[in-house]
């Protein structure tokens, strides 16, 4: 299929779904008469207490961050703006509990708590509730994911298993990109970026939609320059990408409804011929708060992606997903969340001489049900017990439980601990991949590959000793079993489950606002990985393929409001050496200077890799990219 016909197909599918979704929604969710919510008790709270009440989030985890018994780092809209970043992977560098390595102009290796790889498969990523991992390898094609960063409200980065709520694949972390409601993005936003590494523009328009609604539409485009190899030779990895989308939100007194969608296509230069990606999605989410304090959320989406890697494979993937969750308080002190979901994927691959997915045309489905109870115990203890059962077509039912205990030791101190079990269910690459596409095979599909298992033990402490200073530390120990190994066999090696081991580490970060105009934040993660082939088993390269991780990485950021119209921000980040293939440690300095000459204008100068001028982040020396100094000017106008 050509890109054009794929794009037309995606567009047609999207339009059909929008039409169906609109009629269903119109029938099901005619605006109910507004009724005052039971908010009277809020009037009894002090101003300080009010400042700490969490706004209902449409995300699954509507928990107050200060009391969440998990290692969560939140990237705020302000952090994103002041980072000067232009892509989701670059923004994710702000999270101290993530390791981000850029492989070339478009590809990234991103993971939490180790196992980093461009095909990393232990992190679950959601954009407005839509899971963006591919069932091809359980990871994320980062080049295909984009949003208008100015419209992002926050990004929640949870390191450690989130499987009890989020399901298989949330093994080492969950990333939740949450965009603002359309009600908060009314007006015009236009941004143009010009620089030596990337140029582009984005525009958004938002307005009211009837008495209770609002919508926004956006379009964006960028053109990224090719990178250079370490010997100075140019690499063919330049890219162009365009995306359009919309979001509409309605809010009545008890109900909220969101309908949103995106469509994109991109051309990425590579050897031997351009890699092409295209896709579209449409999502609807409805929430109702009942008078008795319970609430119901239902979300459904369809996501179509097309990907053509010439001489390697071509894929058309359609995913349908629906899930519902109900929150109730059956007894005093119990906050219960129950839910269920179903997901269906139709994956059609066109194979090549280089590799083959067998069968090329595949239907996959997942079903899940979960329950979680947050129990308020005496002495300010809160116990969370939750479990999810999720089925997949490869291994059947997987059980994903966790237990968490939080203790609010004082109004400024919070201690928590957790034990959880997560699995990484097999994906197509684990069971159905042949390399090359025809015999004799070097690697051949194996239907005995089973889920990788992780058991995590975590202990954390968060404190705010001064109003302007906050600090968080998490200790983790994760035990892994049945990790993916490569077992040599006559007729072709297969993926097997013969690696085991553990990781142990510390994640810590702090933010200190020294003065009204100067804020400093710092983050550090250090960890040890001990992985080995099980006694008696043979592994031919599986261990090295699991990941290539630094043992330590840290960052230091300074944000200065020189005047109300001027910001000056500097970031220093350090990533330790990678072992196999060897990549030297590096320290990079980025800076941003912004000026708001008039209320609606912002002009920013963003410098990346200021010192040293070049560094590499990923890959064997002969083939790896060295990133050069980047300079860009961004002009933004809002109305």
């Amino acid at each position: 299929m050509t890109r054009r016909s794929a794009a037309v197909h995606a567009l047609r599918t999207t339009l059909a779904i929008v039409a169906i979704a609109t009629s269903v929604i119109a029938a099901a969710a005619a605006p109910p008469p507004p009724a005052p919510v039971n908010v009277a008790s809020l009037a009894d709270l002090s101003l300080e207490q009010l400042s700490n009440v969490e706004v209902t989030s449409v995300s699954r985890h509507a928990e107050s961050l200060a009391d969440a018994p998990a290692s969560i780092y939140v990237i705020t809209a302000e952090d994103i703006r002041r980072s000067g970043a232009t892509s989701i992977p670059e923004v994710l560098r702000l999270a101290p509990n993530l390791i981000v390595a850029r492989a070339d102009a478009n590809q990234y290796a991103i993971s939490a708590r180790g196992f980093n790889n461009v095909l990393a498969n232990k992190l679950l990523v959601l954009i407005d509730g839509r899971t963006v991992y591919t069932p091809l390898f359980s990871g994320v094609f980062w080049e295909a994911q984009d949003v208008v960063l100015e419209d992002v409200e926050r990004i929640e980065v949870i390191s450690g298993p989130g499987a009890a709520l989020w399901g298989a694949n949330a093994v080492n972390g969950v990333i939740n990109v949450i965009t603002r409601s359309a009600a908060e993005t009314r007006g015009v936003l236009a941004t143009a970026v010009g620089g030596n590494l990337e140029s582009g523009a984005r525009a958004r328009y938002g307005a009211a939609l009837g008495d209770n609604g609002a919508y926004r539409i956006y379009a964006k485009y960028f053109d990224r320059a090719a990178s250079e190899l370490s010997n100075g030779a140019p690499l063919r990895d330049s890219s162009k990408r365009a995306q359009v989308g919309f979001r509409a939100d309605w809010q009545w007194s008890r109900d909220t409804l969101t309908v949103q969608g995106d469509g994109y296509f991109g051309d990425i230069d590579q050897v031997p011929a351009t890699r092409q990606i295209a896709g579209g999605n449409v999502l609807a989410r409805w929430s109702r708060r009942f008078d008795d304090g319970t609430s119901l959320d239902v979300q459904t989406y369809y996501d179509q992606t097309h990907r053509d890697h010439p001489s390697s494979f071509l894929e058309n993937l359609g995913i349908f997903d629906i899930e519902a969750q109900y929150r109730l308080r059956p007894f005093a002190g119990h906050d219960v969340l129950v839910g269920a979901g179903y997901r269906y994927a139709r994956d059609r691959v066109v194979n090549s001489a280089a590799q083959a997915f067998v069968p090329p045309d595949r239907s996959l489905s997942w079903s899940n049900a979960f329950v979680q109870d947050e129990i308020a115990l005496p002495r300010d203890l809160e116990l969370t017990i939750g479990a999810k059962v999720e089925t997949n077509v490869f291994t059947g039912a997987e059980f994903l439980p966790n237990v968490r205990l939080g203790w609010r030791a004082s109004s400024n101190d919070f201690v928590w601990g957790a034990v959880s079990r997560a699995v990484r269910a097999p994906s197509r690459i684990d069971r159905e991949l042949d390399v090359p596409g025809n015999p004799p095979f070097a690697l051949v599909g194996n239907d005995t590959f089973v889920s990788e298992i992780a058991t995590a033990y975590e202990l954390g402490y968060r404190t705010q000793p001064l109003p302007a200073l906050s600090w968080s530390i998490t200790l983790f120990h994760e035990r892994y079993d049945r990790l993916r190994s490569i077992e040599p066999r006559v007729g072709g090696a297969v993926f097997a489950n013969a690696i085991e081991g553990h990781t142990t580490g510390v994640e810590t970060w702090a933010t200190w606002r020294f003065s009204p105009i100067w804020k400093v934040s710092a983050g550090l993660t250090t960890m040890r990985e001990r992985l080995a082939v099980e006694p008696g088993a043979v592994d031919a390269g599986g261990l090295a393929a699991l990941g290539n991780d630094p043992s330590t990485w840290w960052s230091l950021r300074s944000f200065v409001d020189i005047t109300p119209q001027h910001d000056f921000d500097v970031t220093i980040r350090h990533v330790g050496a990678l072992a196999n293939p060897a990549v030297p440690a590096y320290t990079a300095v980025d800076a941003r200077l912004a000026w708001r000459p008039a209320p609606r204008w912002e002009i920013a100068l963003v410098l990346t890799n200021l010192f040293p001028v070049r560094h590499a982040e990923w890959g064997p020396q002969a083939a790896r990219v060295e990133f050069e100094r980047g300079a860009s000017v961004r002009v933004q106008w809002t109305l």
Binding site: P34, V55, G333
Partner: protein, 205 residues
Amino acid sequence: MDALIGHWLMRPRLFARERLRWGAIALCVVGYCLVLVAWSAPGPSPDDAPQPEFGIKAAFLYKFLSYVEWRPGTFKEAGAPVVIGVIGAKDVADSLRALTEGRAVGDRPVEVRELQSTDSLNNVHLLFVGHAASSRIPALATVAQQRGTLLVTDSEGALDDGSMINLLVRQSRVRFEVSLDAAEKGGLKLSSRLLGIALTVRPAH
């Protein structure tokens, strides 16, 4: 759920290891039930459950009334109501009515009025302009300053347009920033306690 059930029908037998696993699950469920029973009786009911944004904003507006001192002579008589006007935020107005019912600030009852931007601000003591009407803020700010009305908004950058208190959502919480400059131009005094909780305070010139 069909897929879940279908899957079990297709499974001829459970292996010993899986029996062990499901045994462990059963144990977890029983253990959980015990915890449920043990702690369901008197446990404290957390009052900090997430709330809709408009409800929290309404509560802030009500609380602000206690931390502001209007110009002398603003209230003609003892016991006259303190009036909150709302423009462009029906949900906030509805919540405010529910929230202030039967409540008073000092000896004054609270009255909530939904206004159009052309309505008079006479006898309105606090005016909330929702982001749906954010384009009206500069014009309303001028009037609010003349009449000594406390102007509260919830639009990014509204302090630049003359707002006195601007509500913002930061890290899923409703916070606020204050312009002392704008408040003083309106002859309003804001208590230091209010300023202490503000995210930022823009000083008076």
